[in-house]
């Protein structure tokens, strides 16, 4: 089953009315006919219409989307899954929300960077037109500003790592408190600085905001050793780091060595090679009851991969624990969440097969 958009918040009265009309439309839904008039009227899933496409820099665009129903809201720093049809095929991608959640027009915005050999971003960059209908999946992510707002913050971003941080900066700029913010941002070229003008304006206008911008093709990369010079009190700040894996690893190492790792928040864009950082478990035998396939995992392989290798046809979507397309009902046994290492499992629990590995023998209805 292919991935769907998130369930929108619809008034119970409207839902009751639609259910009543179902006797006339079965096996189709009233939605199927309403969509003939306006595809945004679907109550089955959250969709959106692309309203504006603007260049954010040489190789990134900001896409503004009007959600089909009231935007459920997000915390600055979170991302949303976007479903869009490119050459007949529906693709899903996760993009950081760059908009402030409290936008008066109710729109949201995303700022994808062009991945030259990608499928979706080149289309968003060149092919997409205002009026295009997209699907909006769930809002996810734990890379968010804490509440209450800390007094002192440090942001370290590189390239498109600026996108979740931009949402945080916009929310700070629109808020009542003005925390002390040091922002170290690097980009390869001057033309590749996403939100260059807005960052510059924030630096002029926003009290307490200091921006250190680095063009790495001329001045070299920012290294964790330069923290003392750029932000002498870095160990006393709530820090948010987002960028390529190398940056995250080197800064993470610095915090582990000299700082307080609990105050460091990092966001990885690409899924890591292994599904998670969680402790590796013992693995076990998997019985996929509906397909009647038996598979086994070494503890590192998620149920989905082990099942596929044993020849089962299993549903999947994001393969990184986000979209819930791959869920199956657990009949018996325990599993380990590969992202956190947590061992869990109740009979009847709906499990995401893409991020869980068996911990001993399990039976699952798939």
């Amino acid at each position: 089953m292919a991935e769907r958009g998130a369930a929108p918040q619809i008034s119970p009265r409207r839902l009751r009315a639609l259910r009543l009309v179902r006797s006339f439309t079965s096996p189709l839904l009233p939605d199927d006919y309403l969509e003939l008039v306006n595809p945004l009227w679907s109550t089955r899933e959250l969709r959106g219409r692309i309203e504006r496409i603007e260049r954010a820099c040489d190789d990134a665009v900001t896409i503004s989307i009007k959600p089909s129903w009231e935007w459920p809201g997000h915390t600055p720093g979170q991302y949303v899954r976007l479903g869009i049809e490119v050459d007949g095929v529906h693709h899903w991608r996760a993009y950081s929300l760059t908009s402030d959640p409290g936008r008066p027009d109710g729109w949201i915005s995303l700022t994808p960077k062009l991945v030259a050999d990608g499928k979706v971003s080149p289309f968003l960059f060149r092919g997409v037109r205002p009026g295009t209908i997209v699907r909006l999946g769930g809002v996810e992510g734990t890379f968010v500003l804490p509440s209450p707002m800390p007094e002192r913050l440090l942001f370290v971003s590189a390239g498109s790592g600026i996108t979740p941080i931009m949402s945080m900066l916009r929310s700070i700029a629109g808020g009542r408190t003005a925390p002390d913010v040091v922002h170290v941002h690097s980009a390869r070229t001057a033309g590749g600085v996403i939100f260059a003008r807005e960052l510059h304006e924030l630096g002029e206008r926003q009290p307490g905001y200091r921006l250190h911008q680095r063009i790495t093709s001329t001045h070299g990369r920012v290294s964790p050793d330069q923290l003392e010079r750029l932000c002498p009190d870095w160990t006393e700040r709530e820090a948010f780091v987002c960028g390529p894996a190398g940056l995250l690893d080197s800064f993470g190492e610095r915090w582990r060595r000299d700082g307080d790792p609990t105050r460091l928040h990092i966001e990885r864009f690409a899924p890591t090679e292994r599904v998670g950082d969680g402790q590796r478990g013992q693995g076990g035998e998997i019985h996929l009851c509906s397909s009647d396939v038996r598979a086994s995992s070494d503890g590192e392989q998620p149920i989905l991969v082990a099942g596929e290798q044993a020849g089962a046809e299993l549903p999947y979507g994001c393969r990184m624990g986000i979209c819930h397309t791959c869920v199956g009902r657990l009949r018996s046994g325990q599993v380990r969440d590969l992202r956190t290492g947590r061992v869990h499992g109740q009979p009847g629990e709906m499990l995401r097969t893409c991020v869980n590995a068996p911990e001993g023998a399990i039976e699952i209805d798939l």
Binding site: A2, E3, S23, F24, D87, G88, V89
Partner: protein
């Protein structure tokens, strides 16, 4: 209820079945009492060497891969606009039928609803549920989520059709679609007195096709043999019940009531009846049409059937050839193919059940060319001829005996 599964004939007879008389020559019947092997013609399957089968398999695989690498916007636009057309037709039909007291509106509404139901069952429902459009990764046009405007619940049909019929196509005793467990449509099926009634229930099935398909999905053989648990049967019956109730409520209660309510008290009763009659007619028209197209898929009397032995240890190429020999096409224009759900390209559909139906017309000339080069039949003809041979078979085989019809022999334009 007769059983269409056969006991295995003795080895000598099986050999006869495989070797048979030379192609093109009608087989002489009359081996005596057991008609399970009666006049079996030589199957062209046996004429191809393993190397030829492999080469043919590779050629057909290449067609499949070529089409799948080319799928894109054009195909997505096609299925979306077909779905949109169906929904517009339904809306138009239901609106027209609010005035079903008028003869003209009744006729226009009933026609439009019949066409809508045919389009939905044939070109959309059947093909979407085959997974032909799953490559789009669209949750709304997906084999797992689709349900169609007919009595048969989607899940049960997908199993009996996609898996059983398309895997075991025309294997006697394994393909339950071969005569649908109630008909003798191949002389190699053993006769039973019950078959005397088959011309009668053939007519019933024509009119009530959707209900026949729903019951067929239950698989009576599996129920009798105990292969299906009581609980499973109960669950499936319940699913049919739920689906049937919704279909009946919609066509025979909700819309007639709505039309009656809008027509005012003086003519309410008449409007209720005329709307109900319109919906009933549309369902029957759809049933007769679906029956006609689907019976022409495998039952025209020049398609081959196979014994389980012939299909044992089958290679990819052998599987393709069995699909080719067991299926028959219907000739017609593009509107005809659309309303036939492109099942008029039954041969192409059976070779590539997961290929979007709109592509069958494009690959048909290449499949035909392969048949010519490998000297295989390519069974096709206009609807009246194909349907005529089906009806002739059903009438003749109601009685004992019957022999194989002459097969067209190796297909080639020179000899045709």
């Amino acid at each position: 209820m007769p059983s269409t599964t056969q006991t295995s004939p003795p080895l000598a007879m099986r050999l006869n079945e495989i070797q048979g008389p030379p192609s093109g020559v009608p087989a002489a019947g009359g081996h005596g009492g057991d008609d399970a092997h009666f006049g079996a013609p030589e199957s062209p399957l046996g004429q191809l060497s393993p190397e030829q089968l492999d080469a043919l398999g590779r050629e057909l695989d290449a067609i499949h891969d070529e089409v799948f690498s080319d799928l894109g916007d054009r195909d997505s636009r096609y299925i979306r606009s077909t779905i949109k057309l169906h929904r517009q037709l339904v809306l138009a039909a239901r609106a027209l039928l609010l005035g079903s007291r008028s003869d003209a509106l009744w006729l226009a509404g009933t026609t439009s609803l019949s066409v809508a139901k045919i389009l939905e069952n044939m070109e959309i429902g059947h093909n979407v549920m085959h997974g032909q459009w799953d490559w789009m990764n669209d949750p709304d046009i997906n084999s797992q989520s689709w349900d169609w405007d007919t009595a048969s619940p989607a899940d049960a049909w997908r199993h009996s059709h996609n898996y059983e019929h398309h895997t075991f196509t025309n294997i006697r005793g394994k393909d339950r679609d071969l005569g649908y467990e109630i008909m003798r449509i191949d002389p190699q099926q053993r006769w039973h007195p019950v078959y005397l009634a088959q011309p009668l229930y053939n007519l019933l099935l024509m009119g009530l096709f959707e209900w026949g398909v729903a019951l067929h999905d239950l698989n009576f053989d599996a129920i009798r043999s105990g292969e299906k648990s009581k609980r499973q049967v109960r669950d499936e019956l319940r699913a049919i019940g739920v689906k049937a109730r919704r279909q009946i409520v919609k066509d025979y209660l909700a819309f007639p009531l709505l039309a009656a309510a809008l027509s005012g008290p003086s003519s309410a009763r008449r409007t209720f009846r005329s709307t109900l009659a319109a919906n009933f007619t549309a369902n029957i028209v759809r049933n007769v049409w679906a029956y006609s197209i689907i019976f022409c898929g495998h039952f025209p009397d020049q398609t081959y059937t196979f014994s389980e032995e012939e299909a044992a240890n089958e290679t990819r190429g052998g599987w393709y050839v069995r699909q080719l020999l067991g299926s028959a096409n219907i000739e017609g224009g593009s509107l005809f193919h659309l309303l036939a759900g492109n099942l008029s390209f039954q041969i192409e559909h059976h070779l590539f059940p997961d290929m979007p139906s709109s592509r069958y017309a494009e690959i048909a000339p290449r499949v035909r060319d392969i048949c010519r080069r490998y000297e295989l039949p390519y069974n096709t003809g206009p609807l009246r001829r194909q349907l005529g041979t089906v009806q002739r078979t059903i009438l003749r085989l109601a009685f004992p005996g019957g022999r194989q019809r002459p097969k067209p022999g190796p297909y080639s334009p020179e000899r045709a």
